[in-house]
């Protein structure tokens, strides 16, 4: 059975027809063409699919599209404004916090949510908070540096 679902994605009103079993990440990637959100596992472990729903980070592989009805969803594509990277995106670039780029959108979305809750995170906090995001390339060293620098830049 198909259902119609209406939500806001990156500030734009969206209406789509989905199956009940359609996951939020499938709606984003396959129907809305927002392929910046990635799928890296089947078990809600890796965090490549993290987006914001109602301002909080959510693993979009673990949420049904219909559960996002009426919600405000933000993805990696919505972060940069007027061609300017978000301070967290800029910090990842400056500190070489990405290599293959696959985990990066989820890392950046998780980091921004983290900074909302921990405006000045120390290394231990960042490492603990990133437990739900797996990176196979960087060894996390530069991601941690980037998140701390990004947090500082977000504080202004």
């Amino acid at each position: 059975m198909s259902q119609t679902v209406s939500l806001t994605v990156n500030g734009k009103a969206v209406t789509a027809t989905v199956e009940e079993r359609t996951l939020l990440v499938q709606l984003l990637r396959e129907q809305l063409g927002l392929t910046g959100t990635h799928v890296g596992c089947d078990t809600s472990q890796c965090g490549a699919c993290v987006v914001h729903v109602g301002g909080r980070s959510v693993k979009s592989c673990t949420m049904l599209a219909v559960q996002a009805a009426g919600q405000d969803v933000a993805t990696i594509e919505g972060l940069a404004k007027d061609g300017q990277l978000h301070p967290m995106q800029a910090a990842f670039r400056e500190h070489h916090g990405l290599q293959c780029g696959y985990c990066t959108p989820g890392m950046v979305m998780s980091a921004i949510d983290m900074v909302k809750r921990h405006p000045s995170p120390d290394e231990a906090t960042v490492r603990h908070e990133l437990e739900g995001n797996i990176c196979r390339c960087t060894g996390y060293h530069n991601i941690v540096k980037a998140v701390i620098a990004g947090a500082q830049a977000m504080r202004g």
Binding site: H38, G40, E77, R136, N142
Partner: protein, 790 residues
């Protein structure tokens, strides 16, 4: 004028922008009109006969377009997957490389083996129908345990491979080694298991096969580290299509670590199916599937004997390794435990004689092939562990014992084939010892003891061989292809540059580092340089990215092509100013006529090259576009010392790494920022191997027990420390860049550093990887009990 973007500078990466704004383009991001979806029916058994495959019910399900089975593969006379490196046994016989079909026909040989491909309108429909394919299996005993796989009682996996043994290979001087061991003052023996790992790049594999009936040609979008090699194999061996009718595109690829070198059944089947169904066929691997069927890494059992004289100098090393190949020989599987591993057993040491035997053995498990380091981590782990055991047994400090045995004169011919060109092992170890404050360790250990923690320190002085070379030698050793690399540098008329390379970037940052190489030679800003890779229709040819070869081999090819550009440009300038090319000088993007004020920028030369009216065409052709093939003269030999310092909580067995020092000699660095990142990532994978990761199959059934991120422990941010990374430099003597390679060093160096530190902390002789809290706790208890009894 100093070039701030050339070799040695750390400009931020050109490729980052698209990844950061969500505009990377990975295979699963690509959709083409009218595409259908593939789903693979996989064997639930590790070893079974296929008595029949009934697709009738599944074929009638909604959305199903076609179901292909092993019978279709046979009917279409499709070739199988190949292993590209021929190894000969001691008796001269060639390795046994049994058929590796695209879809299993008569038998399945591991849990996850491919049995059928369902093609349907949607992914969900393909999956639903896959559940309805009925395969009649007759289960056979599974061969899982490497220790008994060669025994007479073990089931035989391939009818043409008795004792499940593909080959029994040797290298080195057996008689000399045994004689030296017999005369040694002391012989250290060590038995070890190098644990099986699952590579797990974060992007799962994916394939999209497209057939164009109008031109009778194919396009394959695939997650590959080496698209040209994929095209060669799919064309020459599988027989899908001739190369001019087959385009292979590897767009953005989300990490590889070796696992995306190989040519797998899935992309092959999708490509083949696209013509059979007349629709593009897309398959995206789920993580659970990746655990089952991506080629795994490591999985060696070894016995080693190290001879020493009364002064602690190594006299001989003898090694016997049994290497797990899994159920079939994957693309480069045979090279990993042999030529990519055994020649590294000399390490940084002047051991005069070495002999090693390797048996390659089939089991009912997923194929095993190269994983970050590929053979070199296995050799390094064995050597750096046995050296530490030797230090412990002789009472010589581990750093001192290493120093006593270091090779100090170069070039140095090892007893196991390699000739090291340059190095300074004391320099890297001294620097590491200083940064790690090795001298201050006893005080830190005592302080930790007051807190109830067991503190340990461990060294690993590794060497690796990168950029498999030269092609002539690789061919003599059995490589099916030469291992050069190609590059093309094309100046466009308006002064910007495109560099086409046969290497592939899937995290390494080539779009920046190759631009830096070009910038240094041609004096153009890196923003004016675009690096093109990953598409067989753009790039002339290439061997791809693996073995830390992209800098030393691919980068050298790019430099060679850029130097040809300069030479061609000099002719153009000479023609313009009516002087001899020999009078033209070039520096930082500007050509001048020696002794005059006549000059042209390289951009002006590029424009002139494309708009000439009066070139003497027999001497000077229009255009500014040069290609080069670079074949290395030797391997490169990155080396260094890593030091791990850790604390063990004796009550919980939890290990915390508190300091990590890496001092590597990679020769010249192209982009130090990127090199740091490569070292960090390698160390993390090595710590993962040492403490967290272990791929486990059930010994009876052959079922994979560690088949998800909930069962297989990937290193996470809070498992790892920050790292102190520094460098020493002896420039590679035989490539034009002086670089050695940095991609694998961390994964090679780190496992023995961790285990040496753990054994030091606990006071035990050995602990097997992964040293989980349970194993560590047990080791701690085993040491405590006799103490309590005293």
């Amino acid at each position: 004028m100093a070039n701030t973007e050339g070799m040695g500078a750390s400009p931020r990466r050109k490729e980052d922008q698209r990844f950061l704004i969500g505009k990377g383009r990975y295979v699963d991001d690509i959709d083409v009109p009218h595409q259908a979806y593939g789903y693979f029916v996989r064997s639930p058994y590790a070893h079974a006969k296929i008595l029949g495959v009934d697709i009738a019910a599944a074929a009638a399900m909604p959305g199903v377009i076609r179901i292909l089975t092993g019978a279709d593969v046979v009917a279409d006379k499709l070739g199988g997957l190949i292993c590209g490196w021929m190894i000969h046994s001691k008796d001269g016989s060639p390795m046994k490389a049994p058929p590796h079909p695209i879809l299993a026909h008569d038998k399945v040989r591991y849990a996850g083996d491919h049995v059928a491909l369902v093609v349907a309108e949607t992914k969900a429909q393909a999956k639903d129908a896959g559940e309805a394919v009925v395969v009649d299996y007759e289960e056979l005993p599974a061969v899982v345990n490497l220790a008994t796989a060669q025994s007479a009682g073990a089931a035989q996996i391939h009818s043409e491979v008795p004792r499940n043994t593909s080959f029994e290979w040797e290298l080195g001087d057996k008689a000399g080694t045994e004689a030296a061991l017999a005369k040694s003052a002391r012989v250290i023996t060590f038995d070890l298991i190098n644990n099986r790992l699952v590579p797990n790049p974060m992007e799962p594999r994916a394939a999209l096969g497209v057939y164009d009936a109008g031109t009778d040609s194919f396009t394959l979008y695939t997650t590959s580290q080496n698209p040209h090699v994929a095209r060669l194999v799919l064309s020459a061996f599988v027989g899908i299509a001739p190369e001019h009718k087959l385009r292979v595109v590897a767009p953005d690829v989300g990490g590889g670590f070796g696992s995306k070198i190989f040519i797998y059944a899935e992309e092959t089947a999708c490509l083949w199916a696209s013509k059979k169904v007349g629709r593009p066929v897309k398959w995206t691997c789920e993580r659970g599937e990746a655990f089952l069927c991506d080629a795994h890494g490591r999985d060696h059992r070894s016995h080693a004997e190290l001879g020493m004289d009364e002064n602690g100098r190594f006299t001989a090393l003898k090694v016997k390794t049994v290497a797990n190949m899994g159920a079939y020989l994957s693309t480069f599987a045979s090279a990993v435990p042999t030529y990519l591993s055994v020649p590294l057993l000399a390490g940084q040491y002047a051991t005069p004689v070495i002999y090693a035997e390797v048996d390659a053995v089939f089991t009912n498990t997923a194929p095993v092939d190269a994983y970050r380091g590929a053979g070199r981590p296995e050799a390094t782990f064995l050597l750096e562990r046995i050296v530490d055991i030797a230090a412990d047994e002789t009472g010589i400090d581990p750093a001192e014992l290493r120093r006593r045995n270091f090779i100090t004169t170069f070039p140095y011919q090892t007893p196991v084939a390699l000739q090291y060109d340059v190095g300074d092992y004391n320099a890297s170890m001294d620097k590491a010892l200083e940064i790690a404050d090795y001298a201050g360790f006893p005080a830190r250990k005592a302080e930790a003891a007051k807190r109830g923690k067991l503190r340990g320190i461990g060294l690993s002085a590794y060497i690796e061989a990168c950029g498999v070379a030269p092609s002539k030698l690789a061919g003599q050793l059995g490589a099916g292809v030469g291992l050069y690399e190609s590059a093309q540098v094309r100046f466009n008329p308006t002064g910007n540059v495109q560099v086409f390379t046969g290497c592939h970037s899937h995290g390494q940052g080539h779009e920046t580092t190759y631009a830096q190489i070009i910038s240094e030679v041609l004096g153009v800003p890196i923003d004016a340089v675009e690096v093109v890779h990953g598409d067989t229709s753009s790039v002339q040819f290439g061997m791809g990215t693996y073995g830390s070869r992209s800098g030393s081999v691919g980068g050298s090819a790019a430099r060679k092509a850029a130097e040809k550009i300069v030479e061609k440009a000099k002719k153009i300038v000479a023609f313009r100013f009516e002087c001899a090319a020999g009078d033209i000088e070039f520096d930082d993007g500007v050509f001048t006529v020696a002794g005059t004020d006549k000059k042209m920028s390289i951009q002006e030369v590029a424009f002139a090259a494309y708009v000439p009216h009066n070139y003497p065409l027999d001497e000077l052709e229009p255009g500014l576009n040069e290609s080069a093939f670079y074949d290395p003269l030797n391997f490169t030999y990155p080396a260094g010392t890593h030091i791990c310092e850790l604390e063990v909580d004796p009550d919980t067995g939890v290990t915390t790494i508190v300091n990590w020092t890496a001092v590597d000699d990679f020769g010249r660095l192209i982009n130090p920022m990127i090199v740091h990142g490569q070292v960090h990532g390698g160390i993390a994978q090595g710590i993962g191997q040492a403490l967290l990761e272990g791929c486990i199959y059930d010994e009876e059934s052959g079922q994979l027990l560690t088949g998800s991120f909930m069962d297989y422990c990937m290193p996470r941010a809070d498992d790892l420390p920050s790292y102190k990374v520094d460098f020493t430099e002896t420039a590679c003597s035989h490539n034009p860049l002086g670089v050695k390679g940095c991609g694998e060093a961390g994964a090679i160096a780190s496992p023995p550093a961790v285990i040496n530190a753990l054994c030091d902390a606990i006071g035990c002789r050995d602990i097997t990887m992964p040293a989980t809290p349970e194993k560590v706790w047990r080791a701690v208890q085993a040491k405590r009990r006799p103490l309590a009894a005293e």
